[in-house]
């Protein structure tokens, strides 16, 4: 098992004809992800190395039955593409696009919430995220899959490269991952830590969860409360941005300490208060994870 993406994933990509979009789509296909189609308005009828391109999400869905959408279109078109994919009935939408206006994200989030109340199931991961990788099964996004292998550690993170850093150290200790989920660094993410923790808690393969957060907002504090109440599996956390000055945006649109709220110290404290171990460096996080997992699977074989 794994969460969100696996061998049953049927992926279609908005922005497949762009430079970045085609590069990463083909990368995902090479990894073994079943890529069934693409969407670029005005380029319907073309193909990208055999992947058929459609003018709209409705057409792509009618012709190729994708269950997962990846959004690679420029920021000003991204919100509409996400909503169009949801309207067409796609259940999982992974938005890689960086730089979407916050108000567009509010519109998307609240529209999808309304859809849910009406019984639709569309789930958005991202935007401004590296995507989702279930090693050995499917890769949807831009995570460099070669560093990861199958295993029992679930990872959920607001940052891409930091995930690779922590994941790689865990991999070097002999452990693999069930799924790695990048929820993105924007102020209004489609999925929160809590949403993904819930999935990992239910996933048979996942035995330990690594949560990698950063300054800004209160998603880590909300995760801490959720973990205390609902998560039985061990969780190891990391928070980036202890040295970030207030009022300065640190790369990600959502990574900003506002006054005294959203600090790394407050987040680490909130997690520790609920019994979550917090590593002070990526290396320490990996070390704690390895310690909690016990003997590495490789050593067990030996």
């Amino acid at each position: 098992m794994s969460v969100l993406v696996d061998s049953s994933t049927r992926l279609a990509v908005a922005g497949i004809t762009g430079r970045e979009g085609s590069f990463h789509t083909l990368n995902n296909r090479r990894y073994g992800t079943n890529v069934v189609g693409g969407v670029t308005p005005g380029k319907g009828g073309q193909d990208v190395e055999g992947i058929p391109v459609f003018d709209s999400w409705a057409e792509a869905v009618a012709q190729t039955q994708p269950n997962t959408a990846m959004i690679f279109v420029p920021p000003r078109f991204a919100a509409d593409s996400i909503l169009e994919a949801a309207d067409a009935g796609i259940e999982l939408i992974v938005a890689i696009t960086e730089g979407i206006p916050a108000h567009d994200e509010l519109r998307v989030y609240n529209t999808l919430q309304r859809h849910r109340e009406d019984g639709h199931r569309a789930r958005l991961v991202g935007p401004n995220c590296p995507g989702i990788l279930s090693p050995g099964k499917a890769n949807v996004g831009i995570i460099p899959a070669s560093f990861f292998k199958e295993g029992n550690v679930g990872v959920v993170s607001r940052s891409g490269t930091l995930t690779y850093q922590i994941g790689n150290e865990i991999a070097q200790a002999g452990f693999g991952n069930s799924t790695i989920v990048g929820i993105g660094g924007d102020p209004v993410p489609g999925s929160s830590f809590v949403d993904i923790l819930q999935l990992f808690e239910q996933d048979d393969e996942t035995e330990l969860i690594v949560l990698s957060g950063e300054i800004g907002g209160s998603a880590e504090e909300e995760a801490a409360d959720y973990i205390e109440q609902f998560v039985t599996k061990p969780v190891v956390a990391y928070i980036a941005g202890f040295t970030a000055p207030p009022g300065k945006q640190m790369g990600h649109a959502g990574a900003i300490v506002s006054g005294s709220s959203g600090t790394a110290a407050a987040k680490a404290e909130a997690l520790e208060a609920k019994g979550v171990r917090v590593g002070r460096t990526p290396t320490e996080v990996a070390a704690i994870a390895v310690e909690m997992l016990g003997v590495a699977p490789q050593s067990r074989v030996l």
């Binding site: 000003r76 509010l106 519109r107 609240n110 940052s159 990574a255 460096t281 290396t283």
Partner: protein, 388 residues
Amino acid sequence: MDLLEYQGKQLFRAHGLAVSEGRAADTVEDAVAAADAIGYPVVVKAQVLIGGRGKAGGVKLASSAEEARQHASKILGMDIRGHTVHTLWIEHASEIASEYYAAVLLDRSAKQPLVMFSTEGGVEIEQIAKQTPERLIRHHVDYLEGLSRAESLQIATEGGAEEDVREGVADALLALYEVWRQEDATLAEINPLIVTPDRQVKALDAKVSLDGNALYRHPDHASLSDSRNEDPIERKAKEQGVQYVKLDGDIGILGNGAGLVMSTLDVVAQAGGKPANFLDAGGGSDAEKIKQAVEIILANDAVKAVLFNIFGGITRCDEVARGLIGAFEEMGPAISVPFVVRLDGTNDEDGRRLIEQAALPNVHPAKTMNEAAEKVVALAAAQSGRQV
């Protein structure tokens, strides 16, 4: 993007919120001319992106041209908690019967707009929230529906706005919401929102933050960014599309990915060093971009050593190495500080080999992030020792 008071007030006025008549001035002469045109008494207000202007002496009442001149010459150029005053806002002085507080902001937790209102204005919102939380109304708006007049009136009433100005306060809240929504703001705050003795409701201050990602919808917002209040190196970095934040230490940092760079700053601080900057070279950086980034880091004279911390995903370590080598070729002797370089991930072996072959002076490889941090802290300390 944070706006100065007078820029925020321009947006307020455009959306029908009452503000006092005023003019911006960059020189003492302009300030006096503005005051003369507006008519005395006027308030001379320092325009800086930081609170506590009044306490710092940056807000003064002037009843004559002579007083306006005195205040303007004293406030222009003044340093207010690290912010230099380049611009003044001269506005007609208001008589105040009551001071309220109003704000609309993006509540990241609820993922909805949040309207806040209190009759205890004039002090900082943190103080209102702490001292009289029962008098601070917090009302979430459904983003898809917008703020209705009925809701707005309810907020004014529940918040305890005096009965004869409830309609006026409701109008002000509606206008403030429109500023927030139509201008793609993340924050629109009025503190204080005043009631005058003749029962007008007016914005006496303005704090507005606009979403930089929405600039394409608002070409007019570009002119609101006041580059004189920006750090010159940050400005240059922004022009080149590099994510750079200047900090007050002496160790230059370059990494790829915002999270990894933030983490690098933390690890350097834990090793006893002080980072001089945040710089995210971004995903898929090529050699040219890395070279520009090195120039930006070294433009800060305080930098005594530089740390490259790369975990290559889309970014290829060989491209980073080529960029660093290119920077040394171009800047050569101008680079007088040591570099510590840690390359891991995509094409890391190629990258390390390229750097080794280039035999760059004073460039030290490191295997792990922690080792790199310790090395660069030691090198920066040694460098400081040499200069002392």
